[in-house]
């Protein structure tokens, strides 16, 4: 059974002049222990997907329809109080900026033990012992002393390790990590990525890794979902999506990324820009920019179709219709 199932999720932002549909019928699953990457450019909806799952959608944003199931139980329609128990215990969160993820007024130890005791039936001494263990496991040197330090006494990379420790503290099955390494230096990024992979695999925790950095996805994830204009354009095993993308947007994206291992005279560019939420084209949202669009693309919106090793929301892969080759 999959750990997380998102089915036909629609997230809307109602406001005076109408309703903006920010996530339009998203469906995907995460298996226990799997690392799923969610990649896309600004405005594609990847952070919003993470926020919907953790239950941290900013009002007036709301889940308009669809379901989010965690271990077979529906979590999108829970009350605030019920979600509070799920968050931390079943789902851990890691955000981009470690400085704002930690409370500056409490020691790191206090924040860890508070989370542990809120969700697990242990006493103070045991909680502290586990907290020290977590800090050691995430590579904080002299953990037994540093547990009583405040966040400002840690460097950026160290703080992010503390945030990872905090996310794992109540032993969740799923971690949602939204751009966990973007604010860090390159050399620290590598350390944090390795750490995240290791501690999650050791604990059997699944990860939803949201980022715009394809290199991070390539090194960390098992599968990846490419998002565009509030929809999933392609989803599949990471090697296949990177090396043999089936959706024209994925193809364009992979070709546009400068890679350190290959030198190219000119970077492939996708002309135009992602459409605004109030101006999403009919049919396939990518059709105005797509070099292979044909008539059907402008009227009918494609579902995710089987496309070799991946699934792509593209009519080119509809085996039944006579798509131009």
């Amino acid at each position: 059974m999959s750990l997380l199932q998102v089915q036909n999720l629609i997230v809307e932002f109602p406001h005076r002049r109408g309703t903006l549909r920010a996530l339009d019928d998203i469906s995907f699953e995460i298996a226990p222990g799997e690392i799923l990457g969610v990649v896309g450019e600004s405005g594609a909806g990847k952070s919003l997907t993470g926020a919907s799952i953790i239950g941290l959608l900013e009002p007036p944003g709301r889940v308009a329809s669809g379901q989010i199931m965690l271990e077979g139980q529906r979590i999108d329609n829970l009350s605030h109080e019920q979600m509070r128990h799920i968050r931390g215990r079943k789902i851990g969160a890691i955000f981009q900026d470690p400085l704002t993820s930690l409370n500056p007024l409490y020691t790191v130890g206090r924040q860890l033990t508070e989370t542990i005791q809120a969700h697990l039936p242990v006493d103070g001494a045991e909680a502290r012992k586990r907290a020290v263990g977590l800090l050691e496991d995430t590579g904080i040197p002299a953990a037994a002393e540093r547990i009583d330090h405040y966040p400002h006494q840690f460097s950026g990379g160290m703080r992010q390790r503390v945030v990872i420790a905090l996310a794992l503290a109540a032993e969740p099955k799923l971690i949602v990590a939204d751009e966990p390494t973007t604010a860090l230096d390159v050399s620290i990024q590598a350390q944090i990525i390795q750490l995240l992979k290791r501690v999650c695999k050791e604990r059997g925790a699944a990860v939803m890794l949201i980022t715009h950095d394809m290199g991070v996805i390539a090194e960390t994830c098992d599968r990846v979902a490419v998002m565009y204009a509030g929809r999933i354009a392609e989803i599949g095993p990471v090697h296949d999506v990177i090396n043999q993308p089936a959706h024209p947007y994925s193809m364009g994206l992979m070709a546009a990324i400068p890679d350190i291992t290959i030198e190219r005279e000119r970077l492939h560019q996708i002309d135009g820009a992602m459409p605004r939420l109030n101006a999403i084209p009919a049919g396939c949202a990518y059709n105005p920019r797509c070099p292979r669009a044909f008539a059907r693309c402008t009227v009918e919106r494609p579902d995710l179709l089987e496309a070799g090793a991946t699934r792509a929301a593209c009519w080119l892969h509809d085996a039944h219709a006579g798509a131009p080759v």
Binding site: E41, S42, S155, G156, G157, M158, D185, V186, S187, I188, Q189, A190, Q191, I193, Q194, H212, D213, M214, G215, V216, A218, E219, T220, V238, H239, I242, N243, G252, L253, M254, A256, I257, P258, D259, I260, T261, I262, E263, R264, R266, L267, H268, Q269, I270, D271, A273
Partner: protein, 331 residues
């Protein structure tokens, strides 16, 4: 052979970040000096691109500002087309020099005045330097400049907020080109942009360089982008250059331990599954740098000399490198 267009000699910039005098006296705290740039030298030939890379605190943005005259160097200097740039900036000829050197900034949202139309923004340098005084001709020229960066001349009536990040960055480029400069200092020009937009902007910059023989100093923390745009690459660490060589050489055979670790640390799209040793430690506090070679606490090849003696940037086997271990032939 003509001298390089841009020559930096031993550029240094120190900032006094001490707490106020009264606090120093009462709390008995010493002065605090931040050596943001501590002796950087390089040459850039006409039509070439030198990329400066490094992590936070390495001083690359400060070097950019020194080069355009936004900061006065604490030590050392810059020679542009044979003349002492900072002395010229202060003289009556300074305005002429400022037409020849222009800058593109990182944040496309902060570098354009939100209350001005694009026409005013791109036309400002033309008016300021009295390059064009006739209003109709000015409008035409702004239209040409917008066209050269892939925007429509009709866009000149709009305000910055009506454009996306990538488009704003193109407006910045159009503005920088208004004075027909020879040298462009680009401080992380695509870091705030999405990948597909970055590709558009980088392609435009390369095209313009080819068409107009522009010289670039390109600052970035993204080595993949640097690989795409540069001819020469300089790696900076805590205010100093540790390695300076041609692009092919740097990426093909990096010599300095920091360069190697940096290249190794970058997440790569196509080398999937390769395990590697991540860099140990973090960049030290620039207010309190290590003795000797600043990289020694993190270097697997450090010896006693490295802890005591700061390595000079030496020419070794066709590259410039500051490393005792390389000089001694240990690596």
């Amino acid at each position: 052979m003509t001298a390089p267009l841009v020559q930096a000699h031993d550029l240094a910039k120190t900032f006094d970040v001490s707490v106020p005098w009264l606090n120093r006296v009462i709390e008995r705290r010493p002065r605090q000096l931040l050596r943001a740039v501590d002796g950087v030298s390089f040459d850039i030939g006409k039509g070439q691109t030198l990329a400066l890379v490094g992590e936070s605190g390495c001083g690359k943005s400060t070097v950019a500002r020194l080069l355009v005259g936004l900061y006065e160097p604490t030590r050392g200097g810059l020679t542009f087309d044979g003349q002492d740039a900072h002395a010229t900036f202060k003289s009556p000829q300074g305005r002429q020099l400022r037409r020849r050197i222009q800058m593109i900034f990182q944040d496309p949202y902060a570098s354009l005045n939100p209350r001005w139309t694009v026409e005013d923004i791109v036309g400002e340098p033309l008016k300021e330097h009295a390059i064009i005084t006739d209003a109709a001709r000015l409008k035409d020229r702004v239209g040409e400049l917008l066209d050269s960066v892939g925007l429509s001349p009709l866009d000149m009536v709009k305000f910055p907020h009506q454009f996306s990040g990538g488009q704003r960055q193109r407006i910045s480029i159009a503005r920088a080109l208004a004075t027909e400069p020879e040298f462009l200092v680009c401080d992380e020009p695509t870091s705030a942009l999405d990948v597909s937009v970055q590709a558009q902007v980088l392609n435009i910059m390369k095209d313009l360089q080819r068409q107009r023989g522009l010289t670039y100093l390109f600052i970035s923390h993204n080595l993949a982008v640097v690989r795409h745009v540069s001819d020469q690459v300089g790696v900076m660490y805590l205010g100093r250059l540790v390695e300076l060589s041609g692009k092919r050489q740097l990426f093909g055979n990096p010599r300095h331990p920091y360069t190697r670790m940096l290249l190794d640390a970058i997440p790569k799209m196509h080398d999937i599954g390769r395990s590697r040793t991540p860099v140990q430690g973090e960049v030290p506090n620039p207010l309190n740098p290590p003795t000797g070679c600043a990289f020694h606490p993190r270097c697997p090849n450090a010896n006693e000399r490295c802890k005591a003696e700061r390595p000079a940037l030496l020419a070794i086997q066709g590259i410039r490198i500051a490393c005792h271990a390389v000089e001694e032939g240990r690596i």
